[in-house]
């Protein structure tokens, strides 16, 4: 399995990285917090950790730590617009239940 980006998500990430002027890729992860147990994190990466796993999707380097990978393996990250709002969306096949807002989930 792996982690992937949709093409529109990859384009955005590239743009944001270019604007930021530094960074080697995008980190996806989970934190054990939130109302339904776990929450997604999405961060720029300046430095890889030795245990990190790296994937490549549409030219963007996607980095995940092994502990997070078990919860999000197979995830496709999408970029979506909802009304005036826009941002990234995790399509995670492992999710069994989400809190109402979708910010945290259980597997």
């Amino acid at each position: 399995m792996a982690i992937s980006l949709t093409e529109s998500a990859a384009q955005r990430v590239e743009k944001f990285l270019a604007n930021r002027g530094k960074g080697i890729g995008l980190r996806l992860g989970v934190k054990t917090t939130g109302c339904s147990g776990m929450a997604y994190t999405l961060e720029f990466v300046d430095e890889m950790q030795p245990e990190d796993m790296a994937f490549e999707s549409h030219g963007v380097k996607v980095i995940v730590d092994p502990k997070s990978l078990v919860y999000i393996d197979g995830t496709e990250l999408d970029f979506a617009k909802e009304g005036l709002n826009e941002g990234f969306k995790f399509n995670n096949p492992n999710v069994k239940d989400e809190c109402g807002c979708g910010e945290s989930f259980t597997v």
């Binding site: 604007n19 992860g29 929450a39 909802e82 941002g87």
Partner: protein
């Protein structure tokens, strides 16, 4: 499923705890809101894709309110209930507004004490203050931001012109509160523009911000050192902007029509509006094109079909361009700089898109100005970057920018002099304290008069507030210790507190000055302080000598009334009285040295009287006491 943004490494927010912060450019003509998404500052658009919200508020029959384009469309049909450019009235009183005859609103003097005399505008739904009207614009931007960010705002950075004084800043903050926005900080517009270009990342430098908006021109000279932007000078023209260029085209079109139809009838209001719109479109088209075709049909059936080319346009607007260069020259001169000391020039405001303005600026400064950001958006973009930092979404804590006080702040002391507590150009936030004491024996109250300005005399400075400290325990003159603390928060708002150190008695005031100062007034106050430096020094010396003389006379009068008959011979008494009279006479003059000499003389000649009084009171205190009962 919620939409996520990319955070800085290690800065991911906990679920439901996003710090949604925005930057707001509350402009005279247009307002904008921007935010940082995935590390990138972006201006937020409304449902129709408009980034700019015209700063126009219209009060409707049914108590409703329209803000922005809808309100702007009704400006000419409902002029008294459609408020434009309300920013010009923020924190102002009636007497501050010049040329009231040319403004369609019915202004009302505000008798409510709370409002500190800020004017109000009569509308069909009652009297509205500029604060309330601005709050409507801010509410619209807040709604837009919350829709776009999918949550409630944590806070906002709102920009204000560098020359805004305390009253205007406070009014802006009040408007935000009324709109339900937590203000993280007010930021100077030129500083925001500099931040948008990342100039704050440089270690130091001097930057000029050339801001030509729809109806106002502002020039600011900033110095960045150690991460702090200091405003070295501001200047401008509050009645010069992009609209004047439209108007020149409009006049030119009329001239062209009259060349063909000599007795062309005056235009209807509708036609005027139509031609002004066509003029603006032509101006914008000429930014990227050599010539512009102006075609439209007027209400009398006349068909306008004229071609305007760039060189014609440049020719008849050249003097408008030159008009911006005079204030620019003055600002550079006020800042005491030469052109080669300027590290960068930033263009702000939609009107700076015009190529001949860019050329004029480049020629003047002998360097290409920074133009790669949208000049309409650059202030909002910078404010958003600052808001993002203040909301805690960045780890670089040292990026917190500071602003400075435009004028010194101080207190009135005896003799009508101003004691400066916080000097001009102190970086904000700042707190300074100084101890004062009582002037008379048994004085139980003290009044504090807070002043702003560079001059030495109270009458030459601007009064900001007055307050009193009552209930000081009676003590000898000079024994009470009253600590006065001046504190200015990061938004430039001043609070002053006074505390009597022995009793812990305290009193304070938050300064909401009654009227604003224009940039011109601030400039004049500064200039006059330089010009009058020598006079001020002398005036201060005279006042100080007078105060010292009065103090001596006061204490000698008191001592004479008590003990003169007991201690002094009639001759000695007569000698002291005559010297007192002489001093009283000399005090009225403005010769500080003569006053000081007379004071000194009186002091000397009463020395033996003072010594004998002291002996007498010691004898009195010791009389009838057993040596053992004295604690020595």
């Amino acid at each position: 499923m919620a939409l996520l943004q990319i955070s800085e490494p290690g800065m991911s927010a906990a679920p439901h705890k996003h710090n949604l912060a925005v930057g707001i450019d509350l402009g005279t003509t247009n307002s904008l809101v921007a935010t940082v998404r995935s590390g990138m500052s972006t201006v937020l658009q409304d449902e129709h894709g408009h980034a700019l919200l015209p700063s126009v508020v219209r009060y409707l029959e049914n108590n409703g309110v329209e803000v922005g384009h809808d309100a702007q469309a009704q400006q000419s049909t409902d002029p008294t209930n459609t408020i434009v450019s309300v920013k010009r009235f923020m924190g102002r009183g009636l007497k501050d507004i010049a040329n009231r005859a040319h403004i369609p609103y019915r202004f009302v003097e505000n008798t409510n004490k709370e409002s500190n005399g800020m004017l109000q505008i009569e509308t069909r739904v009652g009297n509205k203050s500029p604060v309330e009207i601005s709050a409507e614009i801010l509410k619209t931007l807040r709604t837009r931001a919350e829709k776009a960010l999918g949550g409630e705002l944590t806070g906002a950075v709102i920009t204000v012109p560098a020359y805004f004084d305390e009253a205007q800043r406070q009014a802006t903050k009040d408007a935000a509160r009324l709109a339900g926005i937590h203000v993280l900080r007010l930021l100077n517009e030129p500083t925001a523009a500099a931040v948008a270009y990342g100039l704050d990342n440089a270690s130091e430098g001097v930057y000029v911000i050339y801001d030509l908006g729809g109806g106002t021109f502002d020039i600011s000279v900033l110095r960045l050192s150690k991460g702090v932007f200091e405003v070295l000078a501001t200047n401008g023209d509050s009645a010069l902007g992009g609209d004047d260029f439209d108007h020149r085209i409009f006049c030119w079109i009329l001239d062209q029509i009259r060349l063909k139809v000599p007795n062309f009838s005056p235009l209807s209001e509708e036609d005027t509006r139509l031609l002004l719109t066509k003029s603006r479109q032509a101006k914008e088209w000429l930014t990227d094109n050599y010539e512009s075709q102006i075609t439209c049909k007027l209400s009398n059936g006349y068909f306008v079909d004229i071609t305007l080319n760039v060189s014609q346009f440049n020719e008849f607007t050249q003097n408008l361009v030159s008009k911006t260069l005079n204030p620019t020259r003055k600002a550079i001169r006020d800042a005491g700089l030469s052109l080669d000391e300027i590290n960068g020039v930033v263009l702000v405001g939609g009107a700076t898109r015009m190529p001949h303005i860019r050329h004029a600026v480049a020629d003047f400064f002998k360097q290409e100005p920074l133009t790669n950001l949208d000049p309409d958006k650059v202030v909002a973009l910078g404010a958003a970057i600052q808001a993002n930092v203040l909301a805690g979404n960045r780890s670089d804590k040292d990026l917190l920018l500071l602003d400075v006080t435009p004028l010194s702040l101080g207190l009135e002391t005896m003799g009508g002099l101003v004691e400066k507590i916080i000097p001009r150009n102190a970086t904000l936030p700042v707190a300074r304290a100084q101890e004062f004491t009582t002037f008379k024996d048994g004085q139980t109250a003290m009044s504090f008069h807070v002043l702003q300005g560079e001059r030495e005399l109270v009458s030459d400075c601007r009064s900001l507030a007055k307050f009193e400290l009552r209930g000081i325990p009676p003590m000898a003159a000079g024994a009470a210790r009253i600590r006065v603390t001046f504190q200015i928060d990061a938004d430039g708002l001043l609070s002053v507190s006074a505390k009597e150190q022995t009793s812990g008695l305290e009193s304070h005031v938050v300064v909401k000055p009654s009227y604003g100062l224009s940039d011109e007034e601030i400039g004049n106050m500064l200039k006059s302080s330089f010009l009058a430096a020598e006079n001020d020094k002398q005036a201060r010396a005279v006042r100080e000598a007078q105060v010292e003389a009065a103090r001596l006379l006061e204490s000698i009068t008191f001592a004479m009334d008590q003990d003169a008959d007991k201690i002094l011979s009639p001759d000695e008494k007569e000698a002291i009285y005559s010297q007192m009279e002489a001093l009283k006479e000399i005090m009225k003059s403005d010769d500080s040295q003569a006053i000081n000499r007379a004071t000194e003389k009186l002091n000397k000649s009463t020395e033996s009287f003072a010594a004998r009084r002291m002996d007498a009171s010691v004898t009195k205190a010791l009389a009838g006491q057993n040596l053992d009962s004295l604690e020595i």
